[in-house]
């Protein structure tokens, strides 16, 4: 029972305290405004380049913007504990570490869903994106799985923030590299093989591929293998992140470096 409280209430409180963009005056321009213009920008570049139709860019970017919450949010709600000097008191508590760590993911995951849904709405309102109504449940499933795997990737970044000096540098870099490697704006088969191979080991790639097929009218059953792969990649990152979190916790205790900033 206590673990459930740590998971839900602890996660929510950490989000409210540490997610620096929670106030509407930051949330709206950063979490909604920026994705809006990202989608429009790449759709217009795509039109000029004569690469793909609007739907390609709307789906790719609308799924990818879930990372804003997943990566930046997790970097802040885990990595920022050191900056706010609350890491030592937190780790002095007997709270279950798994519940404590995973609980921080839930609000960021929910936030990712909101941002991604907003992205799809933008595409529908401003661009030539009009998926069949029947595809919406399938699209929702693709977004759910992709946002979860992004959040898991963000956990890894956040865990590194327990050691690294500048976690936001890493978060920014990761966000931009996902734009490049995951087939968000360039079809995966147009990338060099080594980039495609890296892309296939990152979150988002399979989720975006599945979402594009579903938006194009394919049934969910036709892309379930992609979604399972996306979920599996997310799970690997989540467990890797938890392992790093525990490692940095014990290393920080051993070296007395928990509060080194």
């Amino acid at each position: 029972m206590n673990n459930i409280r740590v998971f839900f209430i602890g996660g929510f409180m950490a989000y409210r305290a540490l997610f620096a963009w929670i106030h509407w005056s930051i949330y709206v321009p950063t979490m909604l405004g920026s994705p809006l213009f990202q989608i429009l920008f790449f759709a217009y570049v795509g039109r000029f380049a004569g690469l793909q139709d609007d739907a390609f860019f709307v789906v790719g970017n609308a799924v990818q913007v879930a990372c804003m919450a997943g990566i930046y949010g997790m970097a802040q709600t885990i990595g920022a504990e050191r900056w706010t000097q609350t890491l030592s008191p937190l780790l002095a508590t007997p709270a279950n570490r798994f519940a404590l760590f995973m609980g921080r993911a839930l609000p960021n995951f929910a936030n990712g869903l909101i941002v991604s849904t907003f992205g799809f709405l933008i595409g529908w309102v401003f661009l030539d994106f009009d998926p069949p109504l029947s595809s919406l449940p399938g699209l929702a499933a693709c977004v759910l799985v992709s946002a979860a795997s992004c959040t898991a990737f963000g956990m890894l970044i956040g865990s590194i923030g327990l050691r690294a000096r500048d976690v936001m540098f890493l978060a920014n870099l990761a966000y931009f590299l996902l734009l490049l490697f995951c087939g968000v704006n360039v079809p995966l088969d147009q990338l060099p093989e080594w980039m495609e191979a890296i892309g296939r080991s990152l979150p988002l790639t399979h989720g975006i591929e599945a979402a594009r097929e579903v938006a194009g009218g394919a049934p969910l059953s036709a892309v379930d293998h992609l979604l399972w792969t996306e979920a599996a990649i997310g799970a690997v990152y989540a467990f890797g992140a938890y392992g790093l979190f525990r490692y940095f916790e014990s290393a920080g205790r051993r070296r007395a470096s928990l509060e080194t900033i």
């Binding site: 005056s25 321009p29 920026s34 217009y44 039109r47 000029f48 380049a49 004569g50 540098f169 490049l180």
Partner: protein
């Protein structure tokens, strides 16, 4: 003379400190190369492969804008966090000349992105770099930096009153890339965008640099527009800095964090 020395010393100081900042290394060197790569792949895979130098120059300008935007947004905020804003404003020098070197320096370090994307394009994508009018190109680059730096001054001055100015920086990156035609010709955008683009220095900066490099259009006219807009921004900035500074003093909101 004193003002010139202050601006020069401030510019040198801020160029050095921004160069050592990890965030600005990302914004002015790494991020533009990533965006340039995305654009190269998009244009190579699409039907416009012959435009790679066009893309390379546009991506370089994207980096100059990002550096200017984030440094201008942060110019006030970082001073607030460090507790130096009140000291800067209380110093005998007009605050305009304390702020101006910061925004000019941020546009200057954006040159890393132009250099980086051109080199990246040459080395990895085989983009030829043959400049049609080298002298005009050499004039277009500093004119663009000055134009963008002075636009940054106007932005930074309006951020004095706003607690979360850096959020506006997050918002304004993509729209300016789009409406100033850095990668997409303005003619492809809705008609109402064109008049908006005319009052933004990056529009003329990218036009000047591209026209000089590709041998198209009239680079000299674009350079003149960029500098004229810079002069207008300086005039607007000198008024807004004074006005918002006084307002912040009246409301005792200088140290808002």
């Amino acid at each position: 003379m004193k003002t010139g020395r202050l601006v020069w010393a401030g510019w040198k100081f801020h160029v050095k400190s921004l160069t050592l900042s990890g965030f600005f290394l990302l914004t002015s060197a790494i991020q533009p190369v990533i965006f340039a790569s995305i654009a190269f792949f998009m244009f190579k895979a699409g039907a416009r492969e012959g435009t790679l130098l066009y893309v390379s120059l546009g991506a370089g300008l994207m980096g100059i804008w990002s550096a200017t935007l984030f440094a201008s947004g942060g110019a006030i905020q970082w001073q607030r966090w460090q507790g130096t804003l009140e000291l800067s404003i209380a110093s005998p020098a007009p605050f305009l000349f304390v702020l101006l070197p910061m925004t000019l320096a941020s546009a200057t370090i954006g040159l890393y992105s132009l250099t980086g994307t051109l080199l990246w394009g040459r080395l990895l994508f085989g983009v030829p770099f043959e400049v049609a009018h080298p002298l005009l190109f050499l004039a277009a680059v500093p004119a663009t930096v000055i134009g963008l730096g002075l636009l940054g001054l106007v932005m930074a001055s309006t951020f004095i009153l706003w607690r979360n100015a850096n959020a506006l920086s997050n918002l304004l990156e993509y729209p300016i890339w789009l409406v100033t035609g850095l990668l997409v010709p303005i003619s492809l955008l809705p008609g109402w965008v064109a008049p908006l683009s005319w009052v933004l220095a990056p529009t003329w900066g990218v036009r000047a640099i591209r026209d000089a490099a590709l041998g198209t259009g009239e680079p000299l006219a674009a350079i003149a527009m960029c500098l004229a807009l810079g002069g207008a921004y300086l005039a607007i900035g000198s008024v807004t800095v004074r006005y918002f500074e006084n307002l912040a003093r009246d409301r005792a909101t200088l140290s808002l964090t």
